[in-house]
């Protein structure tokens, strides 16, 4: 079936079986490889994108659910060359090791800050509890989110 998606502000129409996970449409039909495949069962969070502003696991979301909807991926988190403040914080804190989970971590953290600009450590941990990192970068992730929250609080 024909599916129309708005991804990072650009409209795409793809002809695809409607049970295809959104992940593979984003990666292989639209060509945005920043969203990662980790588990295929919504267990690791590497594939997290925003669907109408809310985080979803794209590996387990049929593309038909997203028909006519608006999606933001890691490529859409920055504003052109201007990084999202979380992305800058990730660099400043040297967060990524292998880096494979970080798109999902960033998308989840960005959603958290969108409704709670000054989260506590517990709130950050709770929001990110579904995003696995095999390299164990968690403490740097929380510190990076916290630094953005602190800046917001000071502003």
């Amino acid at each position: 079936m024909a599916i129309t998606l708005t991804v990072n502000g650009n409209q795409h129409t793809v002809e695809i079986e409607d049970d295809t996970p959104l992940l593979w449409v984003i990666r292989d039909e639209i060509g945005l490889k920043g969203t990662k495949f980790g588990c295929g069962r919504a267990l690791c969070g590497a594939c997290t994108v925003h669907l109408n502003g809310n985080p979803v696991r794209s590996c387990s979301t049929p593309v038909s659910v997203a028909d006519g909807q608006s999606i933001t991926t890691i490529e859409g988190l920055s504003d052109g060359d201007t990084l999202h403040r979380l992305q800058q914080a990730w660099i400043d804190h040297g967060v990524p090791q292998c880096g494979y989970c970080q798109s999902g971590q960033l998308m989840t953290a960005a959603h958290l800050l969108s409704y709670n600009p000054t989260p506590s450590d517990d709130e950050i941990n709770a929001a990110l509890s579904g995003n696995l990192c095999r390299c164990g970068t968690y403490s740097n992730i929380v510190a990076a989110v916290k630094s953005v929250a602190d800046a917001a609080e000071g502003a």
Binding site: K33, G34, C39, Q97, G99, N125, A126, G130, R134, T137
Partner: protein
């Protein structure tokens, strides 16, 4: 053709755990050095290329899988070349002799060796280029070279005002000769080493633009998926692909050596078609073990065969005879999966000039062998492009995913991307071996007089040599590959060095005890195994450091003081032990319901001691804090050292709390992250790290954080509950 000109690349090492072969092949390499007319750049050696446009490229001969080589090794070159690390563009190396790991004589990344093996050669490479650039500039200005200096990508005239960029000098520099032994900067002159300035690959990794293997895209590319037998060693007997072949987008369905492959124009179409393929497996040679039967097999093996003596100091038997008391304990550890977050994958295309493969691999030259084995090509006709790796931990030293992709691409004659599912990845891993340890200590007059350690399990080299041996005999025809594997094994100790994978961390028992015996009973139940972050240390540290704790309690001694008294003769061990005890508040009061455990372990040349603070809360183990002292020699990037040690702590805690791969009737029960769990952010302890100052040569940090945390947590739980846990994973409710 540039010959391999640098003697230091031929370092031969007698006692590493890797494969070593003393064949002295005088072959030329494919790395052209000197001035390159076509590109207008100068290539002083295999690692560096400086363009007329001042662009500096560094060929990174070790892969980047999160451990920080991309930044760490670039920093070494940058320091001596006198440019900021960020001014250098790293490129992943092609397969060439220059890029082999001198410890292994193979181009692979593992064993926490990248920094140690690159420390000298990369600084020399950078310094040689710097000096040649200075000589070229001195010739231009007609001034003494000693009076010129390099700084920030320029050579400066003695007058301190005039300068030439490296790019302006490359053509001239190519005509200058490099010094045999260029002087290296002294530590007080370092501007980048030891300063810690984040990572060079961070921006690509936070914007989604870093290219991992799974992201490779080729024109006309199709997708391959494979179903493999649930029981290792089974073969395809027959399969019915009629339904699959009629499904949209399906291009072909066929058997390969390891299973049945479906190729389709889209990944999801291939995956869905694969579900309809009914395979009859021939289980004649299939694995038929359970986790229980493996341990029974080990126990029987231990009873039947005392094993090879790997270390014998003094006379343990006599020490036991004359002891006041003898303590014995057995420790058991399960199989463990690597669970890299990026599942196994590779992209291959077969064309008239050979095959090209793009893959996240830790051993690209072994990838060539794997691809050659299943095609009509020789390894030289296979090109491997290495990408970023979404985790490695030893898994990607084995090239089964490249072999599968190559077999599929050879058959369909189109570019193919093979992607494993998470279930494939969990169930068709090569595992950290399950192990059994039997320990015995003799005590007399309140001290330890004898230490006996019998460990039971397989050797990893037995599993690896089939892939690795042909890479060391590049002249060998393919039909000999199998033989090379068995010859390498038959001649172990002669052709290949000793396989330390099972015994490392046990034979180097560091405490001062007069009579020490370590034996390995070689028992291989047929489950595929390979290196797993920290390898033998991952199980030996648990056995040794838990038993040390048991002895301390039997003697009524403080576990820290007991260790400290027995390690006085080893200053680097002692220093990290004391530092960790101090940092971890050893002996200080704790909130009720909490306890501390301690452990000390050296691996990969790096010394680590840890104090773990834990409790049991609502029926779950809670790890509050890990205090960690590290001596890894001189520090190139303190941020990366801290991150890697913390990463190892999380990795070790994941194994201690959750890690188990369970075999039932020859098949693996676990499949995905719900039953093979990883530690989550809210479960992470506070990790405090102290780096002990050292002037020793740098050693690895990717693995040494893992081993001690497992026994340190177990020891804390004993202190808390009074119940000793001797098998992993640990539980909140010990029987």
């Amino acid at each position: 053709m540039g010959m391999n000109r640098r003697d230091f690349l031929k370092v031969s090492v007698a006692s590493s755990g890797g494969l070593l072969l003393s064949l002295n092949l005088a072959g030329c390499s494919g790395i052209r050095t000197g001035y390159q007319e076509d590109s207008g750049s100068w290539r002083p050696d295999a690692w560096l290329e400086i363009g007329r446009d001042n662009q500096i490229y560094f060929t990174l001969a070790r892969v980047e899988m999160g451990q920080g080589t991309y930044s760490g090794l670039t920093t070494l070159i940058a320091e001596e070349l006198e440019v900021a690390p960020a001014a250098i563009q790293p490129r992943f190396a092609p397969v060439a002799r220059e890029y082999r790991n001198p410890l292994y004589k193979l181009q692979l990344t593992g064993g926490s060796t990248s920094l140690a093996t690159s420390w000298q050669p990369l600084r020399v490479a950078g310094a040689s280029a710097r000096i040649v650039l200075i000589k070229a500039a001195a010739r231009v200005w007609q001034v003494p070279a000693e009076d010129c200096r390099a700084r920030d990508g320029r050579i400066w005239h003695p007058n301190g005002e005039d300068s030439l960029t490296y790019g302006q000098l490359v053509e001239l520099a190519a005509g200058e000769s490099a010094p045999d032994e260029p002087p290296l900067k002294s530590p007080d002159q370092w501007r980048y080493i030891g300063k810690g300035r984040g990572r060079l690959d961070s921006r690509a990794k936070v914007t989604g633009t870093a290219e991992y293997g799974i992201d490779v895209e080729l024109p006309g590319m199709v997708y391959g998926v494979v179903t493999r037998p649930p029981r290792y060693g089974a073969r395809v007997d027959s399969f019915d692909a009629r339904e699959a072949k009629a499904m949209p987008g399906v291009i072909d369905v066929f058997a390969i050596e390891r299973g049945v492959a479906v190729v389709a124009d889209k990944y999801w179409r291939a995956r869905k078609a694969l579900e309809t393929v009914a395979v009859q497996w021939d289980n004649a040679d299939a694995l038929n073990v359970s986790s229980e039967s493996v341990m029974d097999f080990y126990r029987q093996a231990a009873d039947d065969d005392a094993g090879e003596e790997e270390r014998g100091d003094g006379d343990v038997a006599r020490a036991i005879e004359s002891a006041d008391r003898v303590i014995e304990a057995s420790y058991e550890q399960p199989y463990l999966a690597h669970a890299t977050l990026e599942p196994m994958n590779a992209t291959a295309v077969y064309h008239d000039r050979g095959m090209e493969v793009w893959a996240p691999t830790q051993a690209p030259d072994l990838g060539r062998i794997a691809a050659a084995r299943v095609t009509d090509l020789s390894p030289d006709e296979v090109t491997i492009h290495t990408t970023f790796l979404g985790g490695g931990f030893g898994r990607r030293l084995t090239q089964d995913f490249i072999e599968e992709a190559a077999a599929i691409a050879y058959r369909v004659r189109r570019p193919v991307k093979l992607i494993w599912s998470r279930e494939d990845d969990t169930r068709h891993d090569l595992y950290r071996p399950a192990m059994l340890h039997r320990l015995k200590a003799s005590l007399a007059d309140g001290r330890v007089t004898g230490w006996q350690h019998q460990l039971v399990g397989p050797q990893i080299l037995d599993w690896y040599v089939r892939n690795a041996a042909p890479a060391q005999y590049p002249w060998a025809p393919k039909f000999l590959y199998g033989t090379l594997g068995s010859v390498g094994l038959a001649a172990e100790g002669i052709i290949t060095p000793k396989d330390m994978s099972a015994i490392e961390g046990a034979v180097d028992y560091p405490y001062r005890v007069d009579n020490v015996e370590v034996r390995h009973t070689h028992a291989d139940p047929g489950v595929p195994v390979t290196w797993w972050r920290s390898v033998g240390h991952s199980h030996n540290a648990f056995a040794v450091e838990t038993f040390m704790d048991e002895i301390a309690h039997q003697l009524g001694q403080d576990p820290y003081g007991f260790r400290r008294d027995l390690i006085q003769h080893e200053p680097r061990h002692l220093a990290v032990l004391e530092r960790a005890a101090e940092l971890g508040d050893w002996g200080q009061p704790l909130p009720s319901g909490r306890a501390r455990g301690i452990a000390l372990h050296r691996s990969f040349g790096t010394y680590v001691a840890q104090v773990v603070e834990a409790s049991v809360d609502n029926g779950e183990i809670r790890v509050h804090r890990v205090a960690c002292a590290v001596d890894c020699g001189q520090v190139v990037n303190p941020d990366i050292v801290r991150d890697q040690i913390e990463s190892g702590v999380i990795f070790g805690l994941t194994a201690a709390l959750y890690g188990h791969i369970t075999f039932e009737d020859g098949a693996v029960r676990e499949s995905n992250f719900h039953d093979y769990q990883l530690l989550r952010t809210q479960q992470r302890p506070v990790v405090d790290i102290a780096i002990v100052e050292s002037e020793e040569a740098p050693t690895g940090v990717g693995e040494p954080g893992v081993p001690p945390v497992i026994p340190a947590l177990g020891n804390a739980l004993f202190a808390l509950t009074g119940k000793r846990q001797r098998s992993l994973p640990l539980t909140a409710r010990p029987a």
